[in-house]
Assembly symmetry: C2
Homo-oligomer: 369 residues x 2
C-alpha cells in the first residue's frame, strides 16, 4: 500500500459522493476530471493554464512516454513532475489499452504483450511487471495495473471472459511487482458489457488490495443506460472506501451519469479533441464554432463561462481563427472545453454537498438531448 495515499468521502447525495484524495503531488477534490497529457503535455495547453481552469490532476499515457522520450529520460529529470513542470498530482495508465490499439504486430499471451514499436520498429515487450517498472520510473502518484481490453461484440463473450480472467492474473502480478511506497496502484474491472462478468471481475479485483478501482473497457459500444447499470452493480460488490475511476469517458452526460452512481475520477481526451475540431460544450448545449452562421456573432462561446476564450473573445473571432488555420483557435476552444468540464466537476461537488445533485444531473442530460 502506498504511504502517501489517502481517500475520504466528505458528503453523499444518494449514491453520488464527494471526497478528498490526498496524493504525494497534492490534494484532489472529487469527483475530479483528469486532463489528458498523452506525451506529458495537454494538447495545445500549458501547465500554467490549468490551475485557473480548475484542474487538479493530470494523466499521462505510459505507452507514449515509453516510446518517446523513454522512461529513463523522464526518471533522470525527476519523474513526470520534474520532466514536465506540472508539480501537482499525476496518474499514468498502464499502456495496455494503448499498446493493443496503437502498436504494430501485437502478440498477446499469458506473459504479456509483444509489439513492434511505431517509432523505431524494434520488438518490445509489455508485461505486468514491466508496466509497473515503467510507471515507477515515470513516478506518477497513481499507476494502473496492466489489463487486457477487448472490443465489446455481440458474440464475443468467451473472449471477453478470458481477457477478464487474464487481467485478474496480471493484476496480481502487478501487485507483486511494486517497489515504490509512494505510488498507489489501481486495479481495473473488466468484463465487457456483460454485467455478470464485470461483477465477478470486481469481486476478484476488490480482493487484491489495490488503493483504488477502475471501470475499464467501457465507452466502446454499450448503451449509456446499460453502462450506468453495470457501474451500479460493480459498485455494489466493491468496498466503498477506495476511490472509483471511470476510464476514458468524459462527455458531460457520461460524467454526470457516473457521478450519480458514485464514480470519483474521470479522464478523457474529448474536451481537447472536440476543441481542436471547433466543437464546444456550452450551457445551452454543444455547438460547432466553425459554422458560417457565427461569422458575425459577437457573443461569447458560452454566456455562462468564465474561461479565457469567453472572457476575451467572441464567436466571430474564434470562427475566423479556425477559418484561417490560426492555432490560437483550437487553443481557445480547448481551454473552453476544459473549463466547461472542470467547472462541471466543481458544480457536481457543490451540488453533492448541498443535496441537489439530481437537479444538476437532469440539467446536463437535458442539454445532451
Amino acid at each position: 500500500m502506498s504511504e502517501t495515499f489517502d481517500f475520504q468521502t466528505v458528503a453523499h447525495d444518494g449514491t453520488a459522493r464527494r471526497g478528498l484524495l490526498r496524493l504525494g503531488g497534492g490534494l484532489v477534490e472529487t469527483p475530479a476530471f483528469m486532463s489528458v497529457a498523452t506525451y506529458g503535455a495537454v494538447r495545445g495547453v500549458g501547465f500554467d493554464d490549468l490551475p485557473p481552469l480548475g484542474a487538479q490532476i493530470v494523466l499521462a499515457n505510459t505507452f507514449h512516454l515509453h516510446e518517446r522520450p523513454g522512461e529513463d529520460i523522464v526518471a533522470a529529470a525527476g519523474g513526470l513532475r520534474g520532466f514536465t513542470g506540472w508539480k501537482g498530482p499525476w496518474l499514468t495508465d498502464s499502456g495496455g489499452f494503448q499498446v493493443t490499439s496503437l502498436a504494430d504486430r501485437v502478440r498477446l499471451d499469458e506473459s504479456g504483450v509483444t509489439f513492434s514499436s511505431p517509432v523505431d520498429g524494434r520488438r518490445r515487450e509489455l508485461t505486468p511487471e514491466k508496466a509497473i517498472q515503467i510507471q515507477e520510473a515515470l513516478g506518477a502518484d497513481i499507476a494502473m495495473a496492466l489489463d487486457q481490453v477487448v472490443p465489446i461484440t455481440p458474440d464475443g463473450r468467451s473472449e471477453i471472459e478470458a481477457a477478464m480472467e487474464r487481467s485478474l492474473r496480471w493484476a496480481e502480478r502487478c501487485q507483486q511487482a511494486r517497489t515504490r511506497p509512494d505510488q498507489a496502484v489501481f486495479g481495473i474491472v473488466q468484463g465487457g458489457a456483460d454485467v455478470d462478468l464485470r461483477v465477478r471481475s470486481a469481486r476478484a479485483t476488490g480482493s487484491l488490495g489495490f488503493e483504488g478501482h477502475a471501470h475499464g473497457g467501457l465507452g466502446l459500444g454499450e448503451e449509456r443506460a446499460e453502462r450506468r447499470a453495470m457501474i451500479a452493480e460493480v459498485h455494489g460488490v466493491l468496498a466503498a472506501e477506495p476511490p472509483r475511476y471511470l476510464m476514458g469517458l468524459g462527455r458531460p452526460e457520461d460524467i454526470v451519469d457516473a457521478i450519480a452512481e458514485g464514480v470519483d475520477l474521470f479522464d478523457c481526451v474529448v474536451p481537447t479533441r472536440h476543441g481542436r475540431h471547433g466543437l464546444v460544450f456550452t450551457s445551452e448545449g454543444p455547438l460547432n464554432v466553425k459554422n458560417a452562421r457565427f461569422k458575425d456573432d459577437f457573443g461569447p462561446l458560452d454566456p455562462d463561462c468564465d474561461c479565457p476564450a469567453c472572457r476575451q473573445h467572441h464567436r466571430a473571432y474564434i470562427r475566423h481563427l479556425f477559418a484561417v488555420g490560426e492555432r490560437l483557435g483550437p487553443r481557445l476552444t480547448s481551454l473552453h472545453n476544459l473549463r466547461y468540464t472542470l467547472r462541471l466537476m466543481q458544480r457536481a461537488r457543490q451540488a453533492i454537498s448541498e443535496g441537489r445533485f439530481p437537479a444538476l444531473h437532469r440539467e446536463i442530460m437535458d442539454l445532451a438531448r
Copy 2:
C-alpha cells in the same frame, strides 16, 4: 493629422533615441517591437500572453484581413480592438507588399494593383484610396501608405526608381483619401539598396505631412552594413520629430543596428516563425532546441530569461514536445523568442537612458557572430 497621435523623444545616446508614442489605444515606449498578428492573432500566442512578455503594440496585415474575414466584419465588431480582444495599440500595413508577394495574377499600374484573390479567385483591386479605406475600417492607431516594393537586383535600378516614384504619387493619394481624425498614417521610404534613390524618396516622403516615416523594402538582399548606412543617410534628411519605423526586420542584430541609427519601431515574424522551427534566441547565442544533444539537458532554454518556457521547463522537455509534434512546443519557443525580443527592447530603452547603448549593441553583435 491624427488628433490622438503624439511622439516625444525622452533620451538620446548618440543617434539612438528613446521615446514615448501616445496612441488612441495606449502608450508605447520606444524603441518598440510590434508582435505580428497577420490574421489578427499572434501565431500560437494569446493576447493575454503578450503584456507579461513586454508587448505594447501589435501589427496586423491588411491584405490577409481583407481576404478573411473582410474588413466589414472587423468594423462591425468595433475594429481590430473589438474583433480580436487586444485592446491596446495596433498598426496595420497597407497590404501592398503582401498583395504583390501572395496574390495570384497580380497586375500593377499607376492606379493600383489588381489581383485574383487566393481565397475565392475573384478579381480585386487595391489602390491607394482603397488601402486607406480598408485600414480605416480595420481601425488601427497607425495605418501605412500603399507603396510598391520591388526586389533588390543588381541591374534593377530603373525599375526601383520607377517604383519609388510611383510610391510617392501613391503616398500623396493616400494622404488625400484620409477621413479618420483618430488614425495616423506613416509614409514609406523606398529606393531599394540605392542610397541616392532612398534619400530622394525620404526628402519627398518627408514633405507630405505623415505622422511617421518607415524604411520599406529592406531586408531583401542588401548587406547589413549597407542597410545601416542607408538608414543613417535617410535619417539625415527626415525631420527628427516623427517616429521612424524599420519594416519587417527583427533579428536581434538587425534591431540593435537600427536602434543605433535612431529607429523607433520594428516588426517581424522572426520570433514566432523561428520559434515554430525550434530556433531560439538566447543570451548565449541562438540554438535549435530540436537538436538531439538536448534530449537530457535539464537546463532552461536561456539561463538569463524570465519567460514562461524558461521559468517552468527545460530543454529536454521542449525538445521532446517538438519530437512528438505536441503544439505546446512551438508555443513555448514562440513565447520565449517574443520575450527575448521584447526584453531586448526594454534593455535598449534602459541603456539609452543610461548612456550605455553602445555596449549593448556590441554584446548583441558578438552573439550573432
